[in-house]
Amino acid sequence: MNDPEQYVGLPLYYNWRNLLARRLSTALTFTVVAVLVAVLAVLLSFAAGIRASLTASGSALNVMVLQTGATAESTSIVNPDEVGRLIQTPGIASDAIGQPLLSQELCVQTSIPRRGQAGALANVAVRGVDPAAFSVHDEVRIIEGRLPAAAALEIIVGKAAADRFQRLDIGDTVELGRAGNRFYKVVGIFAAGGGALESEIWAPRTILSDSYDRRFVSSVVMRIQGAGFAEEAISYVRGSAVRLNARLESDYYIELTSKTRQIVTLTTILIAIMAVGAVFAVANTMYAAVDGRRREIAMLRTIGFARRSIVVSFMIESLSVCVVACLFGLALSLLINGSRRDFLSDTTWTVLAYDLRITPGIVLAALGLATSVGVVGGLAPALRASRTRIIEALRKS
């Protein structure tokens, strides 16, 4: 320790003892940061859940066709003659017997009460499909029960819909149809890789068309032979031969994630304000720690610890409280991880059920926030500590 500015770290035990010496203050600062992190994680988990659900939906090997001008399946009408022209689409894949893999789908909605919320109705999508749909949407698989029998008033229900809404268990009956007087029996539950389709009810298309008196379909989804055929297929559908709107199915769902941007923006604004408040709380605690240990700091300087050692020591204290609080806040937020919510899309006008997700990205964001709070809140007091006048501080003792 001959060089007064040589860096020698103070033992971590010293920091630990100091934190314990001010138990109440440490605990209160800890709570502020933990709550801040938990709020951040929970708010971001909404956006992450929706994004995960929508990005898991749709395949980059499927081309989705809607009516030109329609922004969603719920407002799209594709007439039978237009469907006929789609069969000629270049690059369209075929099934084992040479039939083009083309799924005509009719989307309608029905109001179903939510589980656990008396009287709260949700606008659930009901999709009329043909057997080809199961080849085109190959992520869809029955996990319980069976497929609807041909020409029967039977439906299968997405896993998320069955969890979130009432009377959608196997054996239950759902009233569908234009007059709500067709009683469809639930015969199966399906999974769709965690995507948006899991929030839907599927029924045989012809039966559903009849129930709703519809002579058209809402969309057509075509499986293409490979990613390289996508551009040609989309150009063909948009061109003069068909004149419909086509895009990759995966792109359609990604466009629906725009709602999550609003959540992230709102979260950022609110958390930024709260984070500044937390910085002040941490700074307050650390200033108090510095003021209370002035003589101690002078003593450390006298026995040869460099200014840098003092700064680092106080920063370690500040950061430890914030990082441990962050981990606690994250652990709290994990309590809601995986819990199911739903929201009404203002594009499709149907509800999308999704699971709240604490993703690695959220963990990193929380750690980043807590570290920033610790650094910003602890730096000024640490610098102040390092500038303690040794003689003056010792004289006071």
Binding site: L28, V32, G69, A120, L270, I273, F280, N284, A288, W349
Partner: protein
């Protein structure tokens, strides 16, 4: 009492940095609280306005998205041939839409031209605007916010690409930018024009997305809510009739239930502020334990010590609360932030009542934060404290 005030002032001035940091640590959560509650108040006010309009929303029983035949209007009107209790029935059809060269979504509704003004008096159309609206089938009323965003003004010819059939450009003539309307986002056009285009395109015509029914009084609202549904029971298109508040509330709760979630967030921010203030007060008490002991040994009672710490905490939090509540009030009332829009509630208005509530909460935070330190001061044993005197 004078001594107490002097002592209070000196204590706050003694460590200005701590005073400032504590005020800021309380002020910022209070700001978040005020903003959250302003949004919640905005939703409540929006719903209260809907209640005041004495309107019923009639949708298809099976789902709001399934359309109703326009013929339902005559049947609803027939429920009150005098027209004294059912003042107006207006069919609305959703168009949505966007400009041909701009993907920004628009909120456009096609409405029955003859009953629109009576059913939606809050649009506050002038006599001149109303005359233009009645005369021109291609008339459109553009929400003033939308007009500003799109650069549209009265007299312009504008083209909107609907998101629904007929999926072809619709040309309109702007007759008003709804300068005095509460809703400054929605565009209103005439349904007879839309029907004509739908007919030409061979698309499904004669359907509406929902009806709005203007009633004369609260009793009429309650009466016809049941009566309208009864009228269509057993028909192919049964209805679901709700007052406008319930109808709108269904949308709000389905879209993240913002009022509930923001109320929870507001509660969390208050908790954070309590923790921050309690931290300061516990530090203050610890730093001044000797002083409190000395005061007590001089004959000041436990109540004096208790009151001293409580009043210091109260004052700190009241200052923080005032700053935290007034900052968003000033920002959203007197700066360009007043144009900030939120779906449905549109402008974010910070009500003085919300600020007052926040300041009272800040003062309550002050009281709560000092409960433990002031109790400690009250119960402090002088001899024990002085023994620790350094």
């Amino acid at each position: 009492m004078k001594l107490q005030f002097v002592y209070l002032y000196r204590n706050l001035a003694r460590n200005p940095r701590r005073t400032l940091l504590t005020c800021a640590a309380v002020a910022l959560p209070i700001t978040v609280f005020v903003l959250s509650m302003a949004v919640v108040d905005g939703f409540n006010q929006f719903l209260d306005n809907s209640t005041r309009q004495l309107r019923l929303a009639v949708t298809h029983k099976t789902s709001i998205v399934n359309p109703l035949p326009e013929g339902h209007r005559r049947k609803i009107e027939a429920l009150d041939p005098t027209g004294r209790r059912l003042l107006a029935v207006c069919g609305l059809r959703y168009i949505g839409g966007q400009r041909e060269d701009d993907p920004t979504p628009l909120s456009t509704l096609a409405v029955d031209a003859d009953t629109f003004a009576a059913c939606f008096p809050e649009q506050r159309l002038t006599a001149e605007e109303l005359e233009l609206w009645n005369r021109d089938r291609q008339a459109i009323i553009i929400g003033r916010g939308t007009a500003g965003d799109m650069g549209w003004k009265v007299g312009d010819r504008v083209t909107i690409m609907p998101s629904v059939p007929p999926y072809q450009p619709l040309e309109f003539h702007v007759v008003s930018t709804a300068e005095k309307a509460e809703d400054f986002v929605t565009n209103w056009c005439r349904r007879d024009y839309l029907e004509e285009v739908l007919k030409e395109a061979g698309a499904l015509e004669g359907m509406v997305t929902f009806f709005f029914v203007k009633c004369a009084g609260k009793a009429d609202l309650d009466h016809y809510r049941a009566e309208i549904d009864r009228q269509f029971t057993g028909s192919l298109d049964e209805t679901k009739c709700q007052d406008e508040k319930t109808f709108m509330n269904e949308f709000i709760t389905q879209q993240f239930d913002l009022p509930t979630n923001l109320s929870i967030l507001a509660g969390m921010t208050v908790f954070v502020a309590i923790m921050a203030a309690a931290n300061t007060m516990s530090m203050n008490f610890r730093d001044r334990a000797n002083e409190v002991a000395t005061l007590k040994s001089l004959g000041f009672g436990g109540g004096f010590a208790f009151g001293l710490i409580q009043s210091e905490s109260l004052l700190l939090c009241a200052i923080g609360g005032a700053v935290g509540a007034l900052a968003p009030y000033v920002a959203f009332t007197f700066t360009p932030l007043r144009d900030f829009t939120i779906p449905l509630i549109q402008t974010l208005i910070i009500m003085p009542g919300t600020c007052l509530k926040a300041m009272l909460i800040a003062m309550a935070i002050g009281v709560l934060a000092a409960v433990w330190p002031s109790w400690q001061a009250f119960r402090m044993k002088v001899v024990v404290a002085l023994r620790q005197f350094e």
